[in-house]
């Protein structure tokens, strides 16, 4: 894993591999593709004094191994705030029989026994009896942990927002494809949108019938802009003795400790999250990307109305407009700063179509029902909120924050996932991680 990563099923057919259409079954050895990573693996391992190889229980058990009684060993990484609820979702929402075998939190220095309580999540991923991890840390850790967990043979239920940057999200998608594990974000809005008008809307959008017809979705309010704006100019202090502050900062810059950077208000700091957009955006927009057929693409243009941004904390913004190549537009209004756009949602339905289009619509089969995480784990299908879909949704928040932070309109290539003619914006799309962490 990060700092010493090896693909778990090197040279062996991965058991429990999810059937995904874009998996390259031969492309499993990450370090062979990336010579520098192999070097780093050795150098970093020597530097930090550890090296290990993880083999999933499915491989040890052989091709016919299934967990007894379909009970899964599970672990929670990040036990504050959302953590307990995230873990409960495994059983209460997803119907999985799970045994909580371990928990991890960076505030357990001096209290960890490295049997059931850990401060280093990598020790949990080494365990053969863990099948599923629930990740409820702040977002700056989500990509690294999700990738490491999937490469260690675990399925992942991860809190939203999926990632802190666009490049991280693409790395998670690639890891899901490479490893064949099940990945799902803890947001489920799309699952309630599979009937009636929403399904019709989705099919119309996917068929391209809404092109240039000024279809728009507007979300007004509920973005907690000032609630999740971190306090500024706070005098640093020593971190609590039970907190591993270096590990908390992890891939983000190691900044002097102030209480608001830890525990809830972390949402207000760019180092860890994306303000209120990061907190709520994935919930609001996950059903929208599904209904409007945008799971496989991103906007090509985004602009925002916002004052100059602060270097450290998420601050005020008024609205953001995100426009896709087919003309579909998402408008977010904070209701907390500036003037509203005056725009409203405008969908498209059967009544808006020509006779020819109606016939084509009638002939389109409904998409397969979205697979719940629990079912995906049991049957090894791709979860309904899989990595690509979750990534395309969270990209909306990242693009919005890109426009807010740079203060200018961003043109974006949805295939390359890069801003066009804006090197500075791309330095936010893809941000360096602090050693030894990487994706």
């Amino acid at each position: 894993m990060s700092g010493s990563r090896r693909c778990v099923v090197r040279g062996l057919p991965p058991e429990g591999k999810v059937d995904t259409p874009s998996v390259d079954r031969d492309d499993r050895d990450v370090s062979a593709k990336h010579p520098r990573r192999r070097f780093l693996k050795t150098a970093a391992a020597a530097a930090v004094g550890w090296n290990f190889q993880v083999v999933p229980r499915h491989v040890i058990g052989g091709p016919d191994h299934t967990p007894p009684s379909e009970t899964f060993g599970a672990a929670l990484i990040g036990v504050g705030g959302r953590g307990p609820g995230t873990f409960r979702a495994l059983s209460e929402r997803h119907g999985l029989e799970v045994r909580k075998l371990a928990e991890c939190d960076v505030k357990w220095v001096g209290e960890a026994d490295d049997k059931t309580r850990y401060t280093d999540y990598r020790r949990i991923l080494e365990r053969e009896d863990i099948d599923i991890v629930a990740i409820a840390t702040p977002p700056h850790w989500h990509a690294v942990m999700s990738i490491d967990a999937m490469e260690a043979g675990k399925d992942v239920l991860c809190e939203k927002p999926m990632t802190r940057t666009i490049a991280e999200g693409r790395a998670v998608v690639e890891a899901e494809q490479r490893t064949g594990r099940v990945f799902q974000i803890c947001t489920y809005g799309r699952f309630g949108q599979q009937g009636g008008r929403q399904m019709e809307q989705r099919k119309i959008m996917l068929a391209g019938m809404a092109r240039d017809r000024e279809i728009r979705f507007v979300r007004r309010g509920g973005f907690k802009v000032f609630q999740w704006s971190g306090p500024v100019d706070v005098e640093p202090r020593e971190p609590p003795t039970n907190l591993d502050w270096d590990m908390y900062c992890g891939p983000s810059p190691l900044k002097p400790f102030i209480p608001s950077r830890f525990g809830g208000m972390h949402r207000g700091y760019w180092d860890y999250d994306g303000g209120g957009l990061g907190d709520m955006g994935q919930h609001y927009l996950d059903p929208i990307t599904w209904v409007f057929g945008k799971d496989g693409t991103s906007p090509i243009e985004v602009e925002a109305s916002a004052p100059p941004a602060h270097p450290e904390v998420a601050g005020p913004w008024g609205w953001v407009k995100l426009r896709y190549e087919d003309g579909f537009e998402i408008v977010l209004e904070s209701d907390e700063w500036g003037e509203p756009t005056g725009l409203s949602t405008r969908g498209i339905g059967r009544d808006d179509l020509t006779d020819e289009e109606k016939q084509a619509l009638d002939e389109m089969p409904d998409p397969e029902p979205l697979v719940d995480f629990g079912e995906a784990v049991r049957t090894r299908q791709r979860a309904g909120g899989h990595a690509e879909a979750a990534h395309r949704t969270v990209c909306l928040l990242h693009l919005a924050n890109l426009a807010i932070r740079t203060g200018r309109k961003i043109r974006f290539d949805p295939e390359l996932e890069l801003a066009l003619d804006d090197d500075q914006a791309n330095r936010l799309v893809r941000q360096p991680m602090r050693a030894p962490w990487h994706v």
Binding site: H34, P35, R36, R37, F39, L40, A43, A44, A47, F226, S229, P231, V232, D233, V234, E235, P236, P253, L254, K255, P256, I258, P307, P308, A309, H310, P311, E312, V313, G315, P316, R405, T406, G407, R408, D421, D422, D423, Q424, A425, R427, Q431, P432, M433, R434, A435, P436, H438
Partner: protein, 176 residues
């Protein structure tokens, strides 16, 4: 001669002593325009006003330096010459070892947005800086610069201690 207060006095105070509300866009445009007009003297005044550590009351100077660096990335708003001049100045100041590590780290974090191929050779030695924050920030800048930083980084491997080697190799890994 510019004083930091010529500019920081025009930034509204924090609401309730902690909450950042920025300033109105038209006021910001005027303020940043005046900062660009002041040139090196304005930037130097702001950098000189930075405390060794964030949280000591210098947030307005930090905010303005960031706003300047951010606007420098807008090819419509700021000319290439102005951007280059700002980048050179911030680079030179980040290399001044009489400045506290906290200040140099802050400048390097701005350069993560701005530094280009030309700055990589000058900044590469900072991956061996005694201050870990400076090392990490320098590595981040060079990672952001990308391919042009590869040779300068490799050039720092010889004689590098373990911490520097880790920073260098990690930067190279991420550039790959």
């Amino acid at each position: 001669m510019s004083q930091a207060s010529d500019f920081t006095d025009r930034v509204p105070d924090l609401v309730d002593g902690r909450s950042f509300h920025s300033l109105a866009p038209d006021e910001a445009a005027d303020l940043l325009g005046d900062l660009w007009q002041a040139g090196e003297a304005g930037v130097e005044a702001l950098v000189d006003a930075l405390d060794a550590q964030e949280g000591s009351g210098d947030w307005k100077a930090r905010f303005l330096l960031h706003a300047l660096a951010n606007q420098a990335g807008d090819a419509v708003a700021v000319g290439a010459d102005q951007r280059a001049a700002l980048t050179r100045q911030l680079t030179a100041m980040a290399l001044e070892d009489h400045r506290p590590p906290g200040v140099r780290t802050f400048l390097l974090h701005r350069l993560q947005w701005l530094a280009g191929d030309d700055e990589a050779p000058a900044l590469a030695p900072l991956v061996a800086d005694p201050a870990p924050d400076v090392r990490d920030a320098a590595a981040a800048v060079l990672t952001a610069v990308g391919e042009a930083a590869i040779e300068p980084l490799r050039g720092q491997l010889e004689g590098a201690g373990p911490a520097s080697r880790l920073a260098i190799e990690h930067a190279l890994l991420q550039i790959d």
